[in-house]
């Protein structure tokens, strides 16, 4: 029988520790598939964050360096500058990359640092139990915006890809979702393009992955997928936000 779908080699065979319906596992599987397809598992180094995303090191069969909250792009910079022949990526949640680590991601992008960042945006602080994130959308209720996010006291949801698109060093920026097979295939193409952007030495790359958090959104996995499509995607439109040809540093 022909294989339609099997677990990728670079995904360690054990059950994920994420909540039911969370897309962290899905995102990590797709990254593993791309690593397999590019044949780079032996020279890839992942950099982990703090938050639910931290667990990636337990599931992806590559070398990993785990560090402090939000600092992964700086750590990745240190690794890449020491080992330019390696493929270095960070995997970060919205609190990590868009709140506490805003400076590190912005300047990594602006330097055109030859790293790739995979950004899981689920509009909430997951591990600490559902507090408002910089990416929480307007009117969304969280444990620290109990009446819903409103701009006057909470400010506006941060569109990180759009912010980073102003950086000259950003060679590839894309926003994807994983709610159906078609979007999953698009996401996989984006993740591959991001890593190829790095491999070809073209500049900084980032893929923002919209992801449901059923537990902290107070929804069933199916409701969470529906809410993501109906409420999140309109504010965080999918697609390639920046694609620059050529080598930025040349």
């Amino acid at each position: 029988m022909a294989v339609v779908f099997e677990r990728p080699k670079t995904l360690i065979k054990k059950p994920f520790t994420y909540c039911p319906g969370c897309h962290h596992g899905l995102a990590q599987r797709i990254i593993a598939e791309v690593i397999d397809e590019l044949g780079i598992e032996n020279k890839t180094i992942g950099v982990g964050p703090v938050g639910c995303s931290v667990y990636i090191y337990q599931f992806l069969d590559t070398d990993f360096v785990m560090g402090a909250h939000g600092r992964a792009p700086a750590i990745a910079t240190g690794i890449k500058r020491t080992q330019p022949d390696k493929i270095v990526f960070s995997y970060q949640g919205d609190g990590d990359i868009a709140a506490i680590g805003t400076a590190e991601i912005l300047h990594a992008a602006n330097r055109g640092e030859l790293i790739s960042s995979f950004f899981i945006n689920n509009a909430v602080f997951g591990m600490t139990g559902g507090q408002m994130a910089p990416t929480t959308i307007l009117k969304q209720k969280t444990t620290t915006s109990p009446k819903g996010r409103e701009p006057k006291s909470h400010g506006f949801p941060l569109q990180l890809c759009e912010v980073l698109s102003a950086c000259q060093g950003s060679a590839y920026l894309s926003r994807v979702a994983l709610t159906n097979p078609k979007l999953i295939n698009q996401a996989k193409r984006s993740i591959k393009k991001a890593l190829l952007t790095q491999i070809e030495g073209r500049g900084f790359s980032l893929v923002e992955i919209l992801s449901p958090c059923p537990t902290n959104w107070g929804m069933s996995p199916q409701e969470a997928v529906d809410w993501l499509e109906k409420e999140m995607i309109p504010y965080y439109p999918l697609g390639e936000i920046a694609v620059k040809e050529g080598i930025l540093h040349a």
Partner: protein, 350 residues
């Protein structure tokens, strides 16, 4: 490079780092240590190394983390407020057991303070500084020549113990010029860094730095680190003894202050005072046994610092209440004079 040359402290550290095999430097400008960055921005590329000016001290120390995890010799430098920002990264470096060298050319604090020399970062350097149970190896040079030899030593000790090493200088040492000789760093060979993260390359994968959720497992980690610090305490104490070997009063001071205390010892001699000086060169590990021994012999101790009393606590712990320990300090960037210290000495002795 055996000949004597005149060199500024900050530049001497930078050149010594290159000679010790430092391949990467990440930093952020802050007075009074910026010459280290400026020197290395020119020098490191000449030897195939990497200089990168980071967007912040926080980013700089995390770049150090990444480079160290890659197995390279790496350094960052800053002063007081910048070292405060690095504390988060330093705590992570210690538990991940990543070697690196951190230079603090300290200045007057707290807060923004000023840019005058100070020793008020002693607690921060020696007692941890960031969160959790950990220690840095802390070296306290007191001349430009010693900035060189201790920079060499810092890289060696960092790799030997897989622990960050802080060089605690001050603005005076960083800015002063003195004649120096660049000697070759000579240390015993070290094991290869087989723990470095370099991509699997066909072997089992490696992970540096982990979340340790189980209390028992984390206690094990901390106990392992603790045993390492005990080993360092046993093996790596350095100090300089100066003046009378049988003193009537023991002086203790480090770095810039120790230079002034040497003048005090010499001037005291002229007045018939038998003064001894212990200058700790390693602040952690602290030379507590030698201080205890000489303090008991002298019967009295005077600790002088450019702060309001920080190392004096470790001296008191060393003598465990058996000997009175006096303190004199200036703060805010003020430097104690030999005359004032000597009159304090005369008060105590009489």
């Amino acid at each position: 490079m055996e000949k004597k040359i005149l060199m500024k402290g900050n530049e001497a550290i930078a050149e010594a780092a290159v000679q010790a095999g430092c391949q990467l430097y990440f930093g952020y400008p802050i007075t009074p240590q910026t010459e280290i960055s400026e020197y290395l921005s020119q020098r490191l590329p000449e030897v195939g190394g990497v200089f990168l000016q980071a967007e912040s001290e926080v980013a700089a120390i995390n770049m150090v983390y990444g480079a160290s995890a890659s197995g390279a010799r790496v350094m960052t430098s800053s002063s007081g407020p910048g070292i405060s920002l690095k504390q988060e990264g330093i705590s992570y470096l210690t538990v991940a057991e990543l070697p690196c060298v951190i230079v603090n050319m300290s200045r007057g604090g707290p807060g923004l303070g000023n840019i005058q020399p100070s020793q008020s970062d002693y607690f921060q350097a020696v007692k941890g500084g960031g969160h959790g149970d950990y220690k840095l190896i802390v070296l306290a040079p007191s001349s430009v020549q010693e900035l060189i030899t201790l920079t060499h030593r810092a890289f060696y000790l960092a790799d030997k113990y897989r622990n960050p090493v802080e060089i605690l200088g001050d603005g005076m040492l960083g800015q002063m010029m003195e004649p120096v000789v660049f000697t070759k760093p000579q240390f015993p060979p070290l094991p290869s860094k087989d723990w470095a993260i370099k991509g699997k390359n066909g072997r089992e994968r490696k992970v540096v730095g982990r979340l340790t959720l189980e209390a028992q497992a984390l206690e094990e980690v901390n106990l392992r680190l603790h045993r390492k610090y005990q080993e360092i305490q046993k093996n790596e104490v350095l100090f300089e003894a100066f003046g009378s070997p049988e003193p009537d009063l023991l002086l203790v001071g480090f770095g810039t202050t120790a230079r002034i205390l040497k003048t005090v010892v010499r001037e005291g001699e002229k007045k018939g005072l038998k003064l001894g000086l212990i200058r700790p060169i390693t602040l952690f590990p602290f030379p507590r046994d030698e201080i205890n021994r000489l303090a008991n012999q002298a019967g009295k101790v005077l600790v002088v610092e450019m702060n309001l009393g920080q190392m004096v606590e470790d001296v008191r712990l060393s003598v465990e209440g058996r000997v009175p320990v006096f303190f004199y300090g200036r703060t805010g960037g003020m430097i104690p004079t030999a005359e004032t210290i000597l009159s304090r000495v005369e008060q105590i002795v009489s």
